[in-house]
């Protein structure tokens, strides 16, 4: 019994020691904790905050994505903002039309897997804006993930008219 008590004690002391020594051990940054970056500052980037497009037009989405290790995928989402439910992630606001009821609003959702192992990627995506959709305020949402699942969102206000 005494031996058992002793081993228990040793184990306890060991565990206690490990508590205070282990504090830093897990922190050597082998794991990725960085978010990917959506860059729309280039002159060719489209759309940007307050961009305007017209029904029937074929637009080309252009942006540069970067990550410290490897990019994952991105999704694009265009939906109406007739009820002003959205706001953008950008600093400056764009003028908005009055609130209205949607009849046939444009809804575009697409996701693209970025080729594996890239740290930088110039995304290009053609989007056709149908002729017969409701014009008005729309929201252009870019969601970018890296391989580990970190996600960055950019929400832009655009207008179809």
């Amino acid at each position: 019994m005494n031996k058992m008590k002793f081993t228990k004690f040793v184990r306890a002391s060991f565990a206690l020691a490990s508590i205070f020594t282990a504090c830093d051990s897990g922190d050597d940054t082998k794991i990725d904790t960085e978010y990917p970056v959506i860059d729309i500052s280039a002159a060719s980037a489209f759309p940007i905050q307050c961009s305007e497009v017209s029904p029937g037009q074929k637009i080309t989405f252009k942006a540069r994505f970067t990550d410290n290790t490897a990019l994952g995928s991105y999704s694009l989402d265009i939906h109406h903002n007739f009820d002003h439910h959205n706001h953008s992630t950008e600093v400056n606001d764009c003028s908005v039309e009055a609130i209205k009821k949607p009849i046939k609003p444009l809804l575009y959702i697409n996701s693209v897997a970025i080729p594996e192992g890239l740290k930088s990627y110039d995304a290009t995506q053609e989007i056709s804006i149908p002729e017969d959709i409701d014009p008005g305020d729309y929201h252009f949402l870019i969601r970018l993930t890296d391989k580990e699942g970190w996600q960055t969102i950019k929400g832009l206000s655009i207008k179809i008219k």
């Binding site: 228990k8 439910h85 580990e148 969102i153």
Partner: protein
Amino acid sequence: MNEHKSNLLRTIYLLLFCVGSFAKASAQSVSISGNVFSNRHTPLEGAIVTIHPSSITTVTNKEGSYSLQIPRDSKKLAVSYSGYILYEIELGLDKSSNIISDIFLKQEIKELKEVVVRDNHAAHHKKAESLNLEIVNSSFIQRNLGGSLMQSLQRLPGVKTISIGSGSSKPLIRGLSFNQVIVVENGIKHEGQQWGADHGLEIDQYAVNRVAIIKGPSSFIYGSDAISGAINIKPLPFPTKHVLGGSVDLTGKSNNEQYGGSINIFGRNDNWFFDTRITTMDYGDYRVPTNSVNVYNYIVPLYKNHLRNTAGRELDLHASTGYIRQRFKSVLYLSNIYSKTGFFANAHGLEPRNVDTELHDKSSRDIQMPHQEVNHTKISNTTSFQLGEHKVETQLGFQKNFRREWSHYVNHGYMPPIYPEDMYVPQDLERQYDKEVFSVSIKDEFSLGNHQFTVGINTELQQNKIGGWSFLIPAFTQINSGFFLYDKIQLNEKWLLHAAFRLDYGRIEMKQYSDWFESETTNNSQTKFEYLKRSEELTRTFNSFTWSTGINYNLEKISLKANIGTSFRMPIAKELASNGVNYHYFRFEKGNSNLSAEKSYQLDLGIEWQDTKWSVQLSPFLNYFPNYIYLNPTAKHDVYYGAGNQVFEYEQSKVMRYGGELQTRYQFLKNLGAEVLVDYLYSEQLSGNKKGYTLPFSPPASVLFGLTYSPEIKRLRDTYFSLDYRFTAQQNQIVPPERKTASNNVFNLAMGTMVKAGQQELSISLQVQNLFNTKYLNHTSFYRLIELPEASRNIILSIKIPFLILKQK
């Protein structure tokens, strides 16, 4: 509470010392001996036996026995024990050796004197369990009153919460929460909180008398879900005979302008008793020390620091009645907990939203969309009786958890842009969950030699229905059954062994679910519209064998404990079959129908040293999961129903965790004591897609320094002033989508006293939480992901007024 404990210890030691000296001094002495029991026939350890007029004193041992050498001319023997009525008998001593017949102490009237915290129960209980255990009572809750029961318990090391708003939170024991911690109320497993992180615990904290918190794997007693711990809310003590009384609790909070209270009335004749309570609360939006919040890159301005739409209200009703005899007790419990609380309006839906600020900011007390309404009804009966050596307890329970989440309709995927008029679901009913649970259990406790056995079986049947226009989890039915055997072996005064095993069976049947709208599908370049299936019919069964073994070694001042055991958890419907958008986190969650039952191996140790002026308690643990169920953030997006949101998938990985808590207390002076409470936790995924990462909601290390001054003031009792300073370390170990959280320093101030008003003692307590209005983030807060700081300074005033209507002699 513990200051009192050490006070008492000191008193006991002093008294023991006196006994020694007196015994020597008296020449004409006789010996007496006897036993002291509670009115439930359990031996009372630590009862103080005093002989008058000589004032010779001793303390009963574990078996409740005492023996003394006393002067032959002694007149009276008195037995006192905290929480029990003082017992006195006249002595007539003629023999040189006298055996006093067994003494049964009666409990004091519940509630009225309950605020007396000099309570040995907790200490005794802790020494008899090999798992790490904390026990608190209602006065601890009143002193540390938070927005919900779990928030009030947060001061305990190793116990944290995942809080949603100011009124609801889930327990987080050593970093694990949700379905990994079980909550038991009146012996029945509380069912209702396992749907998601936004679901608080439907428990009325005013109705809580005593809570035991087990920080360790407890599946062997409680079955699935108790994999990392248990919160056991003990039944209320019975009122004493021939009493009609009650109490009123009043609480006000400055931060969210909360007012509320609770009224309790109880009574008992010889054998019948009743106990009723009504609790109500009303609060406004809570305030945070910031003007704007960063919701995933979206800057949201806040009006007057109010967290938009987090107001709420609560109405709780309780009634219990029962029949008590010496060898037979049967109690019926009824309760209904209703709450309506708002969600932070800007962070709900498919993406961070703009809201009608004029509507929302008009009043801080109204509850707009989105909000949730939860009604939890519980009916249960506990009957216990003595059959020879056997103490049998049966339990029957029924629970209904009805929960609705209201939010404006937002179409996504191929949902129509305008809500159809002929739809069978109300337009604003986003989600509805309706859970009904029946449970039955039988337990038998009996002794064989130095073995104390507990054997039991329990079965639970669940039916879950869903509603609302959105889909996340399918409807399901579930059955769980378990059998357990627990043996506690008292080897001798010092050694206590524990061994337990448990067999479990569980079956879950998930229903099929199809969309209420048609989606466009393309098959071989043929485009058509069809109602898509979100969930298939699926049945899974799980079997489990768990065991646990432990040891206690108790000396006068030192007690050691060790426990090693396994625990298990059946995957829940959410993990097996979810397939939809989580509107709180803007993500698409996908279940995995192949998950196996989670298993856990854990080693727990405990060392406690209690001395007259100080105490140290250290409780480290080491834990390993071969198949932890983890919601893994993937790189994918769902472009259909998920509206382009990131996909999270349930997976299993190996996980290792270790950590522990350290509690030290020191009584500098009679009136001044200090304590230091430390907790630390490390967890790491050893396999899978997030190998090397930690687990979500990993609480950072923290240290709490507490200083309590308890002056003796005339006409007041139990007066205290205490200052708590908590340092929480930074948390750099994160997993997507978490963010690193900086360290923080928070101060809480508390004071309270008891004033004699007529026959009763009124207790008053005042707290100032976040004294310096510090802006800080809590890593385990539900709203941490949107960079929302914790609540601003909060002043909480709480008064408890007991009253006695009638007392018959």
